[in-house]
Symmetry: C4
Subunit: 403 residues, 4 copies
């Protein structure tokens, strides 16, 4: 590519795959030209996404119906929360789809600055490769998690079937185990299984993908801050004309505007992703206090799921906070500007960098910086300690007897 790599082209493949899971139903997402992206109500993608959303809503209704008859327990409330989160994620991606073409066009315009001469030499950040590696790693780990949970279900439902002598086939027992809320309404058919499994995957997919998506945006923005930093670092201790600093500051302002635009666009996704990750880790850590059972597969699935959630959350914070890290580096670089070149323009730039916070934030509620890891960890530990003595008394027990 002569004119360098744009974010749109780096991320289009990832978004195309996620459209298979009914997320972000935007037309021409793989188009080379960013102007061809648009949201059309009458496109097959929108139609497909709408159907999936409808099916998800139906299943959620069934779950609600099931819960209201069974009663709200610790277990059902957590699976309810899972459904609510995934439906909200679907909705927020729809909302994002409406604005995706204008966001991409704005981003494209800003990127033109960074694909021209001075920055071109500092393009070694390799946005596309990073995006592919990160998404590949996280989503394949998510696939492994999904398979483990599935294997877990098969194993447990089979145990129940054989131990309790229930007169159903192997597949039907899986169906009953996995979807107790549907079993009463929808009689079992073999062809139901792949359909339901697909719906299941469209529900499970967004949980990991939202983190991935935030990481992609983080990488896309960091690539530009990286170039800006490299350009300033290249003139380290050199006396540059005022016009150089004016230009650099203009480009920095353009980047800030882009960060603000994206921040307001993905704010609900950020709040949802971090809230969900945190409560999921709390919930799973809380489960470790109970004896989880001796089945190897149950153990593996449980621990894999917990460790994957911790790593994924930490990775998300580290990658999206790299914007902030590059800004810190730019501040440090400005400290070395020689006295002669210390014009009001540079001072203004330095003051702005010192005062403003550049980071993705859930619409200003909290900033995604590196310190977030520590404060999340402290909160999680505090909450764990708080509920730890509930265990000694609570009536939450593992259902180890299957009938």
């Amino acid at each position: 590519m002569p004119q360098g790599e744009t974010f749109h082209r780096a991320v289009s493949q990832v978004l195309f795959i996620s459209q298979a899971y009914a997320l972000l139903p935007v037309s021409n997402i793989r188009s080379v030209d960013v102007n061809q992206i648009r949201f059309k109500w009458r496109s097959p993608r929108v139609f497909y996404s709408a159907i999936i959303l409808l099916l998800n809503l139906c299943e959620f209704g069934a779950v609600l119906n099931h819960v209201s008859s069974v009663g709200v327990t610790f277990h059902t409330s957590s699976s309810l929360a899972l459904y609510v989160v995934c439906l909200l994620e679907h909705l927020f991606f729809w909302r994002l789809a409406f604005h995706w073409h204008s966001i991409m066009r704005h981003w494209h315009r800003v990127e033109q600055l960074f694909l021209s001469v001075p920055y071109r030499f500092y393009g070694e950040y390799n946005m596309k490769r990073r995006i592919n590696i990160v998404v590949g790693l996280v989503m394949s780990s998510a696939l492994v998690e999904h398979c483990l949970l599935l294997a877990n279900s098969c194993h447990l439902s089979n145990l129940e079937r054989t131990q309790c002598n229930i007169n159903v086939s192997y597949l039907e027992s899986i169906y009953k185990w996995e979807r107790p809320h549907l079993y009463e309404i929808l009689p079992y058919h073999v062809w139901l299984l792949p359909l339901l499994e697909w719906i299941n995957e469209t529900i499970a997919y967004p949980r990991s993908f939202t983190d991935c998506f935030l990481m992609c945006i983080g990488i896309g923005l960091a690539a530009r801050f990286h170039q800006l930093h490299r350009r300033i670092a290249a003139v380290h201790r050199k006396v540059m004309p005022a016009v150089f600093w004016t230009e650099v500051r203009q480009h920095y302002l353009a980047l800030k505007r882009l960060v603000r635009l994206l921040d307001s666009a993905v704010a609900p996704l950020i709040l949802l992703a971090f809230g969900n990750n945190m409560s999921f880790i709390c919930f799973q850590l809380f489960n470790t206090f109970k004896n989880i059972g001796v089945d190897l597969i149950v153990m593996v699935a449980f621990w894999y799921s917990l460790i994957f959630a911790i790593i994924r959350t930490t990775l998300t914070i580290f990658i999206t906070s790299s914007i902030n890290e590059f800004e810190q580096k730019i501040i440090t670089a400005l400290r070395d500007v020689p006295s002669k070149a210390w014009t009001p323009e540079v001072q203004r730039f330095s003051e702005q960098l010192g005062n403003d916070m550049t980071a993705l934030s859930g619409n200003g509620f909290f900033y995604v910086t590196r310190q977030l890891v520590l404060s999340m960890a402290t909160t999680i530990i505090t909450y764990e300690l708080m509920i730890s003595d509930v265990i000694n008394q609570a009536t939450i027990r593992q259902r180890t007897v299957y009938c």
Copy 2:
């Protein structure tokens, strides 16, 4: 109105209605001329408010007497707290009434700046309509809440009457249920009911109205910050003479002075409103852990009350923090001032905006910004988790047996 909309005129109607509930007994509150507002000791409004306050104090005395004979329990202490909060709110509105005329005159003087030529074109914030919508929505929701609680009382008192075969009339049973502290002192008369209901409403009204009042003030201030921001945004990237920035900064300083004046005037109301909302939400969330009962009307009243409190508090924070939001926008706009126009005056303005915090605050105890939502939520969750294991042991039980 040729000279534009003043805060006094936008809010006068709302305050006039609240005077019916004995709050803010200021004379000539609906007067067009702000100079006619005054606090007269010998006006019928003051007389009426004084009587209502006296009756409230009497009822509070009866409650104290009742509690001291029954003993302090979880339930009685919460109803005691309700009375204390409402009496304090009445007192703080009296205190505000003394200063209302000078506050309004100061506000009026500041507003003259923003009703003249350059700002006139940016008056599209429509303060009056916003105030009316917000107050209308919140107060009618509060009315629904009040009716639900009343229906709840009627229902439960009737249940008690029929199940326990108490030989009293329907209305008398309501009287006994609603006002156990008066039942022993004051024998039942039919004509007592409307009077007591009116006193009850003057006690219930300030709880929601204080939030509304804070929102009104927030809207009134935000309207001016909005105009200031629009004026700066209108000269985006243009080179303006120094005199322009001097003027803008003068107006900003006038607004800051107004914010400080109002902050010190309504500080007790802010502290009371936020403290009360937070403890009420904590208390109600804590009640959700217990089984609330199966009566539909009890359930609806309980959940409506809880959700209304959460929404009202969040809305109050969002609206009053919009002053701060506009200031952030002004800072951002100043970043785009071109290098040529970057005079010491603009720099001084920029530094001041970066260092000072413009927001309503409970007299400097905490600032009402958007982040407050997150920190309140964290505190509430922490407190809930802390007291959650008291439930397993505590002797707090629902009185489901009525005799």
Copy 3:
């Protein structure tokens, strides 16, 4: 006084009285000339203080001996803590006494600036009257508390004597009740009682006096910041020559140096006073959960003690944080300096005020500002909630049976 009021003269009377309780044994404390203050090892005050300290240490030894035989319980550990805190306060006042003459001389030098012409007109803060009122109020309230606790002891010891038919005189029973740790070692004599009561008072006195002392220092410093603020406020919106601002900034720097000197001198007292107040309030609030007993005098003594501690702590924070409040006011006043007079000197002053924190601090551990009230309250509430469920299980009971 023609040349105005100095801190030394305003506080000398208070310190003279406290010397009767063996605190701050400095010679010539009431001298008009600040140069005559000195610490002499061979003065009667040092001798007297040393004897009192020795007696206190002896009693502490007796308490330690008593506790080691009885065992560490909730009750004994709290009375141990009381002794430790009071002994440390005695020691820290000794340490302060060594440096008192140099501190006073430095303070006197700085004060000369504020007693000369321009500031003389702004001396209406009336440091001496404020100090006398605050100390008078707090110490007489402390006296009432002490009498209540004494009456409480007399009452309870008498109850024990009559109910259990112990064959001791009234006074001996008081002796036994108040000083169980001495009763075993030292046989009862009538003339012991006044001596022990005096020692008791020298132990109880510093607890309230430390807060008073911090308030005095806060008032003394605030008086000067007040004058500085008034001087700046007097030239509001006037164009002043650069030399004016240079002088004002010099005086401000002199005050800052004084604040730093005092901060490092009283840091141990601040840490001790705040730590002790906070733990005392936590402990007493925790006791409210238990039933305290039905004796009126016990109730009154308990609640008076708790409410006095809360009010005293809040007052201490409000008064010592007034330094910070005045600084905020100076910042605000600087915002109104007209553009013409906005020289680098004023800008430097403004930047310094914006960046540095001027407040008493426990050697940099925490700053005594108004926000401290909120954070202390939150911490206390959190700790109360945490230990609240210990009550349901703990074996801490009131000893209502006296034999």
Copy 4:
């Protein structure tokens, strides 16, 4: 030494001793010339360290094996954590060893600035003596702790042997008590004891040494900040030429770069050391709630260990935060620069000092300043209160019956 004291020479002895415990296997560590330091894979030190690490890993394997057979309890999990921490510390020191030569060379280059004329006169900080005193005190206290724990083991194992009539020799009983995880695998031989004791010491040593190492680095950096501060303090209130301030600022920037380099090099050690200290103090404080037993030696060992940990942690924070303290002092000194000498260069220096944070930090997660003591104390108290009611119910008991 004519050219003054370098950090390398001040710390080389301490590092040489620690190499005996297999830490930091760098060749020529005691060399006078900093360029001779290098990490050689084929040196005897690396060989020795590798063997020790291997033996530690083997023992860790044995512990893992033992724990998996005995089951995870409160006690075993804490000893597991100890092994994991010490192994990680060994690994992090290996990692540091790779980079030690480049770090030392960079440090040496920066130090040349501070050993030349103007700074030479301010060299009274006496880095080497401070390092020797601190390391001497802490490591000899650690030795006492180790001996106490050993004596404790001997005592308890002997008690078990005599009380339960186990037919083993005195030494074998110690072996069995100290290393239950090896006893099953490795039969007892007399010559095993010294070897195992040595391995034991290489495991115990890094726990205290990591804190010492951080203190050494803190002292080494503080010495230079001290000199910088003294140079600025020496020109107090004098009008200095701009070139003076340019030079001072250049030197300050060089120091900042050094701090950043070291911070990223020792970040894992900081995180590990603080995390370990905090959890150890929490754990030991938690143990005080249980009755520890009446054996004097057990009591002494327990309390010594707890108090030593608290003092060591506090000391580490105070010494490493002294960098930050000196920076605060430099800011204060800059406030006194006279108006005439207030050039843009000084202002830039002042702004940088005001905005940037200079302190060791665990890679930006938290800053080691004096306030850290307070926040660690608050967190520890909070966690203690949280788990305090677990004690009343938990099944954690002291094993006072030895058979």
